[in-house]
Structure formats: C-alpha cells, structure tokens
C-alpha cells in the first residue's frame, strides 16, 4: 500500500469516527494565536528563522561598517554619519564605535543567528515532522522559548541606543574590562543590557533544549527506533544536550559578573588600578575564573552551532545523491564523540592565559582528538557522493559547500589546537579565518541548505532556483576570497580587534589586502540581500509545490500534506518500518520510511 493510500484511508476513518487530533476543521484560529503566540512548532520555527534573518542582516551590516574602517582607514564616508550619528563623526567610525560593532557582530551572529536562528528553526521544524509527532512535548514551553528569545533581542537592540553605547569588549566579555565601566565606556549601561539580553537568551535556549530532548526521547512514532532516526534528528538531539548542560554554566559566570559589576563582590577582580580613578578596593578574585566558566559553554557552543549544520548536510547529501548516507552508525558515533569531547576541550581557548602547562597539554591532546570524529564525518560524506546520481538542487549545492568549508576550516583547527603553535597564532587573523570558515560560514551554509531544502515544506512553494544558484556561487567564492587570505595576515602575527594598523611597522603591509577583503565582503553581503528577497517574495509568489514529496525523500515530513496544519498529519501518524536512507536499494530510487520491509528485500 502506498503511503498516500495509508493517509487517505486513515483520513476517511478519522472523519467517520472519532477525531480528537483534528484541529483545522474544528476550531478557528485567530491571527494572534496563529501567527504571534503560536504553539505550532512549524510557526515557531518560522518565527525563529525570520528573527534570525533580521539579526543576520543587522550583524552582517555591522561587519560591512567595520570592514569599511579596516579597508579604508584614511577615507571618510559622510553617509556613515547620517546612519550612525556621533559614532561616525565626519564619516569615519570612531574607535569606540568600531569595538561596539565588532562586539555586537560577534554576539549576535554566534548566539542570535547561528544558535537561535539555526537550531531554533530546524529543531522546531524538523523534530516533530521527522520523528512523527504532532508537536513538541510542550508546545507552551516552546512558545515561551521563542518569546524569551524575542525579549533578548529587544534588550540587545536597545543596548545600541544608550548614550554610552553598546558593550564593546569583545563577544567573550572578559572581565575586568567587562566589569568596569571606568575601563571602557561600553562596559557601562551597554554591558548591563548585554548581560540581561544574554540571560534571557540562556532561558530561551534551555526551554527549547529541554523540549527538544523530551520530544525526541518520548514522542517518536511507532517503529521509529533511535537508530532509524534521520541524522538531522541525531544532530539536533546532541545539540540540545550540549546546550542544556553548558548554558547554565555560562549563566553562572554571568551571575558572578553581575555581582562584581553591581554589588561590590570580587569574584573576577583583584589588584586593579584604573588610570584616572585609582586603586579599586577589590582583592582576591581571579579574572581567569570567568574564562573557564565562559568557555565551558563557549566551546560546546561551537558544536551547538555546527552539529545541526552537519545533520542537515548529511540528510541533504544523501537525498540528492540518491544514495544512502555512508556509515550511518559511524555518523551517529562521531556526533556522540564530538558531543562528549566538546565538554573536554574548553581550555584550548586559554593556552596563553598562564594556564598550568600540564593542564594545557591535556587539553592539546583532547582537542586534537576531535579531529578524528571530524575526519570520519568528512570521509563519510565524500563516500556518500561516490557513485551517486547527484541532483544539484540549491540545498545540495549548499551542503557540498558546507563540506568544503568544514574541511578548510577544520584543518586549521589542528594548527590552533596545538598549544605550541597557538602561542604564536593566538588572537591573530589566523584565528579569525579559522573560526569564520569552520563555524561561521560553514554553519551558515548548513542553514542555507536547510532553508532551501525545507522551504517547500515550510511554505508550500519553491524558492527561485536561478537566484539560489547565484546566491550559492557568489557566497562560496566570496567566503574563500574573504577568509583565505586572512591566514596570511595571521602568519604575519597581525592581531585581531585592531581599529587601525597604520601605525604598526609589522602589520601595515596588508592595507591593500584589507581593502580587497572589504570589497568582497560588501558584495557578499549584497548577495545575501538577494537571498532575503527571494525568501520573502517566494513565501507569497513562489512557484507552488504540487507534489507531496518534491525531493523524493524517505523521511516522514514528506508524508504530510503540502501545507500541513497544526498536528501535521490529518489522520493517524504513519508507522515507520525502516531507516531513512534506503535510496537506490534493490533498484528502487527511494523507499520511504513508511513502506513495510518486503519479503524479498536484501539485507545490508
């Protein structure tokens, strides 16, 4: 019996007899309950996605502004003053504004775009649809998760309009700089708002994460054993576990910082003399304590960002190669290994803080160990492509781009994870190149892949393909043109977070290169606007999806109606009989998970 028939049969049955899950015909949804305070996981996913997009544009625009300063330190742009006011007097961004932009760019992109925007969107959207559940374990908590994120967004946004400016001490917010308003203007009101926003964000993450874990563990449909789950779900599961275990530690770090800032404690402060203020009363604190607490989240955070992208890339590569993902169990195992190791490597961000060298050596070992599961993943992806029959859908292109970027950025991790090299390269442009490629752009590519692949499910329409191809090729080439040369700047020892290099005999030789990088960054930013236009235009005017399963995919979300209502399946939830990757088996192009295993089927 085909899947279609199963659905129809149940649908008729449901209409005839009892029906307690059917919403769409029975109770009317208002605009508020459908689009604003929605408890439908699909709507919440869209809310996360669009809020994430707004932040991506703001964060990207900030990088354009500070790239202008880096590329054209001698020039003035009068229109900058029109936009930024006193932060760009005479058309040149002030050092204060530069640092505020750099800091906010980092915070926003890491947390609001690549955490909330990425796993918020796809965990919400895909978990119930791919495991066969009507909604999250707690739709209400899920709704709260979004609205806490929204509140965090509002507070973060408002910090940009206070007189002393937003926080400007780098996204890592190391005290004492972040604790002392006298040491930096941005550490005054701006930092208070930054901390409040981040605290709200942690709450949002925890509410979301607990929900994802509960849903995956308890609400899988009949037959959906853990080892039959698509890799997206495994990745989102480990992501949620990482978040739930590490965000509270970050939160504790923030609480102590709040105490040091406002209530006169000395958790992080000791032996400080501020020019113009004098000696501070604090003694006995440790500035390094904060770094431990911060990076205990900070490093898992990298994987919170990366794992969903890995999961989606695995799924999309397999679907569009028309071939099973190679080494499913190894993929799950390596995700698990990465999740465990993610908790044991945080101090590799702290090799040059005066950390005990022996402790440092343990962290070198554990850090380089992560390269093993990462290598397994890469080779498995490559083998998935081998002897496939590849369809270059936009989602597939971005998934391939993801693999390329993950390789490029991952390999430089082997440099930086080795403390004796890090001692030279730490906090130079080499680091910027490394983490932007492997965490920033690669995860962005995973996110784009997800958006292009599941857009038809989200909105019942397609994105425009030609725009998508332009978007992909320009972004891929642009990403390499921007970040590849930065390795060379790093090898010259050029420090990050410098407003101007022209006074430095050792670093001023890269002005021309910086100009080139800035130009490419502006072009790439413009192409992202093209994507946004495509996105919003296609929501309303895109080509309509006419078949239930446009990518001929095995997973459960494509068994729902083209525009699923709240509850996802009109009838009973389909039963699962196999794993998600039976592509090209026994001469069949694809065998959906809902198809029972035939008697004559081969075993693998």
């Amino acid at each position: 019996m085909s899947n279609e028939a199963v659905l129809h049969a149940h649908s008729d049955l449901a209409h005839g007899a009892h029906d307690d899950h059917h919403h769409e015909h029975h109770h009317h949804e208002t605009f508020i309950s459908k689009y604003v305070f929605s408890q439908d996981h699909k709507m919440i996913a869209k809310q996360f996605l669009i809020t994430g997009m707004v932040w991506a544009i703001l964060g990207g625009l900030m990088s354009v502004f500070f790239r202008l300063q880096l590329g054209y330190p001698e020039s003035t742009f009068p229109w900058l003053e029109d936009i930024l006011g006193k932060w760009a007097k005479g058309g040149r961004i002030s050092d204060e504004a530069y640092y505020a932009l750099v800091t906010t760019h980092g915070t926003v992109l890491v947390f609001f775009v690549l955490t909330a925007g990425l796993s918020g969107t796809f965990a919400n959207f895909l978990i119930p649809l791919q495991i066969g559940a009507r909604d999250m374990a707690s739709p209400f908590m899920n709704m709260l998760s979004y609205w806490f994120f929204f509140a965090a967004s509002i507070v973060m946004l408002s910090s940009m309009f206070v007189e002393t400016g937003p926080f400007s001490g780098g996204w890592t917010a190391y005290p004492p700089l972040s604790a002392l308003g006298d040491a930096s203007k941005g550490s005054k009101t701006g930092m208070d708002l930054w901390l409040i926003a981040m605290a709200l964000f942690v709450v949002s993450s925890l509410l979301g994460g607990l929900n994802y874990i509960a849903t995956i563990l308890n609400m899988r449909t009949k037959g959906m054993s853990m080892t039959r789950m698509p890799l997206t779900i495994w990745a989102l599961f480990f992501t949620a576990v990482l978040g739930v275990l590490s965000f509270p530690v970050l939160f504790s770090g923030f609480i102590l910082l709040i105490f040091d800032r406002n209530f006169g404690t000395s958790f992080y402060l000791s032996d400080i003399f501020i020019t113009g203020v004098g000696a501070l009363p604090n003694e006995g604190g440790s500035a390094i304590l904060y770094q431990h607490l911060f990076w205990f989240l900070g490093h898992p955070e990298v994987y919170i960002i990366l794992l969903p992208a890995m999961g989606m890339a695995s799924e999309i590569l397999s679907v569009n190669s028309r071939k099973p993902i190679f080494g499913y169990m190894a993929m799950v195992g390596s995700l698990f290994a990465i999740a465990i190791l993610a908790f044991l490597v945080w101090a590799h961000h702290m090799f040059v803080t005066g950390l005990n060298p022996f402790l440092g050596s343990i962290f070198v070992l554990l850090t380089l160990l992560i390269a093993v599961p990462s290598a397994i993943k890469v080779f498995n992806w490559l083998t998935t492509l081998w002897r496939g029959n590849i369809r270059f859908t936009p989602g597939m292109l971005f998934a391939i781009g993801f693999v390329s970027l993950f390789i490029s950025g991952g390999l430089t991790g082997i440099w930086l994870g080795n403390s004796a090299l890090d001692i030279h390269l730490h906090d130079t442009y080499f680091v910027i190149a490394h983490f932007h490629i492997v965490m920033g752009v690669a995860s962005m590519f995973g996110m784009f892949a997800g958006v292009y692949h599941w857009f038809p499910k989200m909105y019942g329409r397609y994105l425009n393909n030609s725009l998508a191809y332009i978007h992909f090729w320009v972004t891929l080439a642009g990403a390499y043109l921007i970040f590849w040369p930065m390795h060379y700047e790093g090898l010259a020892g050029m420090p990050r977070r410098y407003y101007d290099y022209s006074n430095w005999e050792s670093f001023k030789q890269f002005l021309e290169l910086n100009r080139f990088i800035s130009t490419v960054a502006i072009i790439v930013f413009a192409v992202q606007l093209l994507f946004l236009f495509n996105f919003f235009y296609s929501i309303f005017k895109g080509r309509k999806v006419t078949t239930q399963n446009p990518w001929q995919s095995n997973t459960l979300e494509w068994t729902t109606p083209i525009n699923p209502g709240h509850g996802n399946w009109p009838g009973e939830i389909p039963e699962v009989h196999r794993w998600a990757y039976d592509y090209g088996k026994d001469g069949h192009d694809f065998i959906p998970q809902t198809t029972p295993v035939g008697a004559d089927e081969s075993h693998h």
């Binding site: 040059v352 060298p357 380089l368 590849i390 090299l421 393909n465 010259a492 990757y581 090209g584």
Partner: protein, 356 residues
C-alpha cells in the same frame, strides 16, 4: 548625490537579476521542469569543476602574493621560535596534503557523479574496513603532531636557562611598563595600592630594600642578543597580552596573577633591519587581548642590542627609588634633611590624592 546614484545602480542591478531569474523560471515551466532541471544540473556540475580549478589556482596565487609579507621568509628572531616555525611547516605539510586531496575528491565526485539517466547508483551503506582506515590514519598522524607540539610546549613553558635575565612587564591601558631588577638581580615587593601615576607607576614598596635599585621604564624594553630572558608579566588594570610575533610567542597579562614567558633573541634590531630589508624595522610588542578602546594603539618596542650597548644603556638609567627620593641619590649627595621631609610629604599627599 553619488550616494543616491550608487543606491539607484544597486537597486537596478537587483531588479535586472530578479527579472532574469523570474523569466528563467517561466521558461523552465514552459520547457518542462524535468528538462530544465537536468540542464541546470549540467551547468552546476560543470561549475563544480570550474570552482575546483580556479580555487586551486587562487590558493597558489594568494600564496605568491602574500607569502613574502608574512613572518615566515625571514625565520624566527628567537631561538625557541625556530621550533614554532618548524612545527608550523610540518603541520602545514600534513594539513595541506589533506586539504588538496579532499577538496579535489569533493568537487571531482560532485562533477563526475552528477545525475545521468544511465547510471545506477551503488547502494553502499557502510564498510567497516574503510571506516577503520579513516579512523586510524588520522589518529596516528595526530598523535605525531601532538608529540611534536607537547615537546615544544614544555620547552616554552618550562624553566629558562640559568643565565637568563629577568624583566618584569606590566600592561596598562594603553601602554607597557618595564622593570629591571637592578644590580642586586632581585625585584622589590610591590602593592597595587601604592601605585602613583606621578612617580611610582608600579606601586613599589620602598620599605623593601630590594626595590631601591629597580629600574622602571616605559615604552621601550632593552634586551641583549643571545641572552635568554624571562618575562614576568602582569597587568595594572584589565587583561592585556604581550604579543611578540617576531619571537613567535605571546602571553596574557592578567591583573593579580603573574604569568611568565622566556625566549632567546637571535638578532639585534639592527641586524633585523638588514635581514628584513626594512630600515624602519622594530620589534613591536602588540597587545593581543582586547583591552578597551585604545587596544589598537597599545604598542611597545623591544630594542635587542649587543651586551656592550646594553650596559651603556643601563648605566644611564636611574632607579625609580631615586626619582621619588632624589636626596638618596649619591650623585646628588648634598641634599639636606628638610628636602627629604618635603619629598616624603609630597609623596604621601600624592598617594592620598590618587586614592580619592
């Protein structure tokens, strides 16, 4: 005006791209979606190989343009830094080979296995042998890298040789303060509440006699070529970082927690001018840890000189103690007691003012 023109041009370009994209979508619907999908597939498959070739050429070209601007052509200016460089080359060789191979495989597979009617896909869900191979090879390679790395790491962070000079480096917003131990070879105690921006920038405790010959300078640090030096690093306010890119080392300056680092300068500043061919060459200390709005201007200079020149320089320096108590200066032995009292009173007054 130009701004509006620019915006107009950008918008125009956007509209044109969008119209073309829209039109191509209509064409594809007319042609039949399956047919146009296959055409697009061919184009993108071809672009994969184009990207690979252009990308590899780009990697080569980028290296040609910028290799000379890095620190690598001249080698390390410290003996220990040579180990960083050699380790860097080994790591580059390993990661470089993997990079080129995997990128070629990725884009080549994408091109080669693009969809055709003829191909029947190979159902290949797993292979223990293959997976074992690419678990073990990376693990072994990484072990080698870890061993090389840790041997260097323990050398860098271990004890310096016996004959090492010791200098204290203190960061502040936004500059560097250096302290040499003076003739007695030992530093006097200090306490941050004693800091007086006027004449006791480190807060030295004068009751401790060891502090009396400590020499405190700002901005420029003098080191002797060929003599190992151990830096004791601290900060007066926020976290800074002593970045010595020519020596291939760096270490954070943390308030309240001293850190150390040692190295052996190989070339004098003068020699480096010749080696680099840059007459303006100086060893710069860059602050590598975000420390406030003046972070980018927090520069120090290291002058590496021969022993004789160093001795000459040191002979000219006056201990900080004598700045505060000029009457103790044997060179100005004529000072009377009233002056001392006056100096002391002024000192206490300044301290009190600083605390306020």
């Amino acid at each position: 005006m130009t701004m509006f023109l620019t915006i107009a041009v950008i918008v125009l370009i956007f509209v044109v791209i969008f119209q073309i994209a829209k039109a191509s979508e209509y064409v594809s619907v007319l042609k039949g979606e399956e047919v146009s999908r296959k055409q697009n597939n061919k184009i993108n498959g071809f672009l994969m190989i184009v990207f690979l070739v252009l990308g590899l050429i780009g990697v080569w070209y980028c290296n040609k343009l910028y290799y000379g601007k890095t620190l690598l052509p001249h080698g390390s200016a410290s003996v220990e830094g040579e180990r960083v460089d050699s380790m860097l080359w080994v790591t580059l060789a390993v990661t470089g080979i993997v990079f080129v191979l995997t990128q070629i495989i990725l884009f080549w597979f994408a091109y080669k296995y693009q969809e055709t009617e003829k191909r029947k896909v190979f159902f290949f869900p797993h292979s223990n042998t293959l997976e074992l191979i690419w678990t073990i090879i990376p693990a072994v390679t990484l072990t080698v890298l870890v061993i090389i790395g840790l041997r260097n790491w323990f050398l860098f962070t271990g004890e310096p040789p016996q004959n090492a000079a010791v200098v204290e480096v203190t960061g502040k917003q936004f500059g560097w303060i250096f302290r040499y131990p003076g003739k007695d070879g030992a530093f006097g105690k200090k306490y941050f509440r004693n800091i007086d921006p006027a004449n006791n920038v480190l807060g030295l405790i004068w009751e401790d006699e060891l502090s009396h010959d400590d020499i405190v300078t700002e901005q420029t640090l003098y080191l002797v070529k060929g003599r190992p030096v151990k830096l004791i690093i601290g900060s007066r306010d926020v976290i800074h970082d002593v970045g010595l890119s020519h020596f291939r080392l760096k270490m954070d300056a943390v308030p309240g927690i001293p850190t150390t680092m040692w190295f052996t300068p190989k070339y004098t500043t003068k020699e480096m001018k010749e080696i680099t061919g840059n007459p303006n060459f100086v060893y710069e200390i860059s602050c590598d840890q975000m420390c406030g709005n003046g972070h980018y201007s927090m520069k120090g200079v290291i002058e590496v000189v021969e022993q004789a020149e160093y001795d000459l320089y040191m002979a000219k320096q006056k201990p900080n103690y004598l700045d505060v108590f000029p009457d103790k200066d044997p060179a100005a032995a004529k000072a009377d007691t009233t002056k001392t009292v006056a100096a002391k009173t002024a000192d206490t007054a300044a301290k009190a003012a600083a605390k306020l």
